[in-house]
Symmetry: C2
Subunit: 671 residues, 2 copies
């Protein structure tokens, strides 16, 4: 990469490619002033901007080590840019704002017509981002996420929760281009990355960002490696994960443990029992909700301490649930309030958030005392000391922008996106302080830049319990592929989906198709969904539990391979689930595929994600001979083929000359 002076401007050049081009006529930088209006409702945000100024920085002045930019030659510079090349593949463009009122920034990155762009965190609807713009703001992901569906309409109407294609628990201002570069913006402000233009990508940030980084690499894999080094790598998977599935059950002690026993007796290998309701429950119109007071509920789980010990003796771990909030009617709230651990409102009271018929205080993790208290009193004492081996570290997306004051003095609007990794860090540090990193495992749906460093496992959030295009099974694949490019090696989802509303109910078919996919992800975990009684569950019929047992055995059978991948993730940052183009750069047909993935480099998985299908179309990348697992036939890559699609035989292929061929062949022997 190098900075080159041209007529009337300058360019950032990599080989023959122009990444950035700034001239008086076509400036790459704009600054401005805007007044945003952000209205929050239960994690859904209506965000509008009133833009007051947008000034093209048409004039530039090049000095030895910096560039100043202004509107006109004779006006004082508004921005100072410093380009620093830390090595030949990593350039940082530091930005100094010389006018404090400025709070809007736009940069145009050069683009070419055929270019593809991926990333922007965990994107659920579109893997290739070209042709759309992506607001980047952590929030509820939406229910339906498609304004043409009844589900989205009703969710919007009754809960302001329908969402759209870009809503995500985990956005990140980072993208990867098919031109073998990545670009990252160092800012947690609201951003909107616009990939709709033929000749440029325009990144909008609601502050003047500290810096923008460019990464280049000769191959996509090495680019991913560099990004994962930049953002932080996850530990290896805990050994106990490989034992089988994690069963999500939340019916209280008797119910959960007896169902676990039945499941084990039915031949399903179980690695963990996950009881979200370990701290108790409450009833709301959305269904049963958890009681957000993070300690063992002796009422709901009278013998939990003993039960956890017994489980562990049988190689089954116990997992729990927490969020970064405490409900107003819980005991811990009173303690935390007395210790001034909450964020405050303008009346100096605890800032409360409505989570759907109950209010919670926002633990202020910008206050070191809050972090320490949460780690010690909740994670250490209430959880690890009880023998808990993992948990869902839920939420993190709700930080309000209005009337909320933080200990670090920063605006909550700027801290909103920073909250998920901050929340992840509380969990990761608590585990690390006990020396249990890589042994205790939590999983999160919310994320942002930095999540990679702290969060050992992503979970895809709350899909609808269906096959819908923008909120069903297939979106989980898109989420894994996009987040995987940015250094998140581990991804999984609620088997069967989560959200059952407005008459949408999980069917046996949805559940079984989801199992077929989950066997080829780093972690299998069920969830009863938000309305357990009205939705299909894994133990509702004998054929399903038999099917589940077989698929978990396949997952377990692949342990040596998964361990190898986990090691690779740890040392190189490669994701377990990979976009096809990561290994098939020369096959452009793979660049847009978002419903298939490579599981490691060797296995290709094409989950069936539609209702009532008998066969399934799969694209096999070129320059490889593929073995179709279920009949061992060889198929030449570079073509789309059709295979049968019975439940229990997900379209699955391996590379003919794979060193893992024998292991893969063993899959068909599993009953």
């Amino acid at each position: 990469m190098k900075l080159k002076q041209i007529d009337n401007g300058f360019q950032l050049i990599q080989d023959a490619q122009i990444l950035l081009s700034h001239t008086r006529e076509n400036p790459a930088f704009f600054v401005g002033i805007g007044r945003e209006n952000i209205v929050a409702y239960r994690g859904n945000f209506d965000i509008q901007d009133h833009l007051i100024e947008r000034i093209p920085l048409t004039h530039y002045q090049l000095s030895d080590d910096h560039i100043t930019l202004s509107y006109r030659q004779d006006t004082p510079p508004l921005l100072t840019l410093m380009f620093s090349l830390s090595n030949d593949h990593h350039l940082t463009l530091s930005i100094k704002n010389n006018k404090s009122e400025l709070n809007r920034f736009w940069i145009r990155i050069n683009a070419i017509e055929v270019e593809k762009v991926w990333g922007c965190g965990e994107q659920m609807s579109y893997f290739n981002l070209r042709g759309k713009h992506f607001p980047l703001w952590t929030s509820e992901p939406g229910v339906g996420r498609d304004k043409t569906t009844e589900m989205t309409f009703l969710s919007d109407k009754y809960n302001k929760a329908g969402g759209d294609y870009y809503n995500s628990n985990y956005p990140q201002p980072t993208f990867v281009s098919s031109r073998h570069y990545a670009c990252h913006v160092n800012s947690s402000a609201y951003a909107d990355f616009d990939f709709r233009n033929a000749t440029y990508h325009e990144l909008q940030i609601w502050e003047i960002p500290e810096s923008i980084e460019f990464f280049i690499a000769p191959t996509f894999l090495s680019l991913i490696e560099r990004l994962s080094l930049r953002f932080g790598r996850q530990p290896k998977l805990p050994e106990w994960i490989y034992n089988g599935i994690i069963l999500g059950l939340k019916g209280g002690e008797e119910n959960s443990f007896s169902r676990l026993e039945h499941t084990v007796n039915s031949g399903v290998p179980v690695a963990g029992l996950w009881c979200e309701d370990w701290a108790g429950i409450r009833e709301t119109s959305f269904g049963k909700r958890l009681f957000w007071d993070w300690k063992w509920s002796k009422k709901r789980y009278p013998n939990l301490d003993q039960k956890i010990k017994l489980l562990k003796e049988n190689n089954i771990r116990f997992l729990a649930y927490i969020s970064p909030y405490l409900c107003e009617d819980g005991e811990l709230f009173t303690i935390a309030k007395a210790k001034s651990l909450f964020a405050l409102n303008s009346k100096k009271d605890v800032a409360l958030i409505d989570f759907g018929e109950f209010n919670c205080g926002v633990l202020d993790f910008t206050n070191q005392a809050t972090k320490e208290w949460f780690k010690k009193e909740i994670i250490h004492k209430n959880m690890l000391d009880l023998g808990i081996s993992g948990w869902m570290a839920d939420f993190g997306e709700y930080l309000p922008t209005e009337d909320l004051f933080l200990a670090n003095g920063m605006s909550s609007t700027i801290m909103h996106n920073a909250w998920p990794p901050l929340w992840a860090s509380v969990n990761a540090e608590a585990i690390a302080e006990r020396g249990l990193t890589g042994e205790i495992m939590f999983f999160m749906r919310s994320g942002f830049t930095g999540t990679q460093k702290y969060c050992p496992m992503l979970w895809a959030g709350d899909q609808c319990v269906d096959f819908s295009r923008h909120d069903g099974l297939n979106t989980v694949i898109c989420g894994a592929l996009s987040s995987g490019l940015l250094g998140n090696a581990y991804h999984h989802s609620d088997i069967g989906g989560y959200t059952s509303l407005f008459g949408n109910r999980r069917t046996k078919e949805v559940f079984e198709r989801w199992v077929d996919m989950a066997a080829f992800t780093p972690m299998m975990r069920t969830h009863e969904c938000n309305r357990p009684d009205e939705n299909f569950q894994f133990d509702h019929d004998a054929t399903t539990i038999t099917h589940l047992a077989r698929m978990v055995k396949i997952y377990k059978h692949l342990t040596p391979y998964l361990k190898y991948l986990s090691n690779e993730a740890h040392t190189k940052g490669y994701p377990i689930q990979r976009a096809l183009f990561l290994h098939f750069e020369n096959d452009f047909n793979t660049y847009d595929i978002q419903d298939q993935y490579l599981y490691g480099s060797e296995l290709l998985v094409a989950p069936v994600h539609q209702q009532a299908v008998q066969e399934w179309k799969v694209y096999l990348p070129a320059d490889e001979t593929w073995i179709y697992i279920w009949d061992k036939k060889e198929i030449q890559g570079g073509q789309a083929i059709i295979v049968p699609a019975p439940i229990g035989k997900p379209p699955l292929f391996y590379r003919k000359n794979s060193q893992w061929a024998e292991l893969f062949d063993g899959i068909t022997n599993i009953q």
Copy 2:
């Protein structure tokens, strides 16, 4: 009004009020560059802007007769403003653009917290515009117009036609403020008037407008008078209108004329028979559509020439229907194409628009030859010579912005909003050239600045056949009041509404409530709606036709009063249907009322616009004693009262000492 220099800026002052205030810190003017993306689908437009620059014009320089504005003191001025006061109540701010690339303009008009704002053309959802922004772009008005309704959702999903609160056939960049001034922007570009801010109104225009006008007056009535003088006044109503109702029937000759006969025999006074299908029909999935080849269909109306003569002898006029388009499969299309009368696309072919399963050519009225041809060949020969006395001059909102070239060389994006008055002018001129102004009457839904001058009668467009808040009966009142403030004296609507889709069907109740309102509008006219066979019609049962007869008799009974109002409209520009505050300035309670109106100055009408109600709440303005028509009781104004709400007795009140009291009293004698 005067321009006053202040520290670091200038102000436009009227009495003690600041209308415009420009300082370096808080500039009132901004200019910029944007690239719009406008996607049209059957009259519905998806409009997005990519804003590239927005420059605050912080620096100003005052000269004797002009002001120059620029971003910085030392840069060349971007705009030159010339303030010219044509008299003490009318100021024109002419604007000269000194940089041709600029295509965005913003002006901030001072505002105060308690201020109300009305106008912006014919607004169907909100009369007081404060608290919302109003994109101004003539289009289909939307079906449902409320994103929380099933109707809007389905219309959006299947036809991209749901619309929103601001969609209107007739927008206009003019508003009236409760501070006794009006502001008008001379531009037909897309505009967005934003009334959401406490201290300013921000008007956005997608070009640098030629000028902005301010009008002031001591009273609202005199302000309206001045506006109507500025935009042009309509002729008086034709005498024949007072004869009764205009019946909309479109079943072909036999059907239409026999139903007319039945109606007349049932005692309904009829002024006109309106057969939209006089030129023939076609079938589409939306229902029967008209055949857009504007000449007598001898197939559908074999004896129309004779029938029209017979009707006229019986004091009944015949009305027809035209639009500014010709269908591709019609005879006139071929002729107009040969004469090069159509707008062209980039291939120099006729630019076609999809109107819903049929394509039409856009007659290019910027070509004087097209106007002359249409006036002579269609309006004169095919219509007036046949004895037609009036027509619906439909559409005018569809001018595409892409791939359409006009004879006057102007961009179709700029001409889009200018199209409705251009279309109106073709009709008005054709009539004037025969000396028939005020005798022949056409009515239009589309409009823009200038419509006042040419269009003798507005019609409220296509409501749903229901009582819905944003697309039902009550929206017609809002449309009449808002357009009335800008000099459109005459307004009426399809009795019973028009749009029946997705299971929404017109009921007897909807029809009868609509009749109750229409009797107190300048023209009564029925419409069979888009699906006549599936919806309630006026002659579907005996009680309805009896009710209709009585209400039309009431309309007729008021002829002397309506003639007086029509004369007042002609000489002073007062609308027939008036916002309450026009006559009750001191009663601030009236400023937000949009579902009641004064019919002239003397009658107050509060149409019932909800389903299954037994009584109705009415606000009576202060400082007046009101007589409730149906029992003649006196009620003091300045309060809301509840009256019974049976069908046939719409809440109706007159001023106690009205010189028309005797006439009004006569209403109760009509059987």
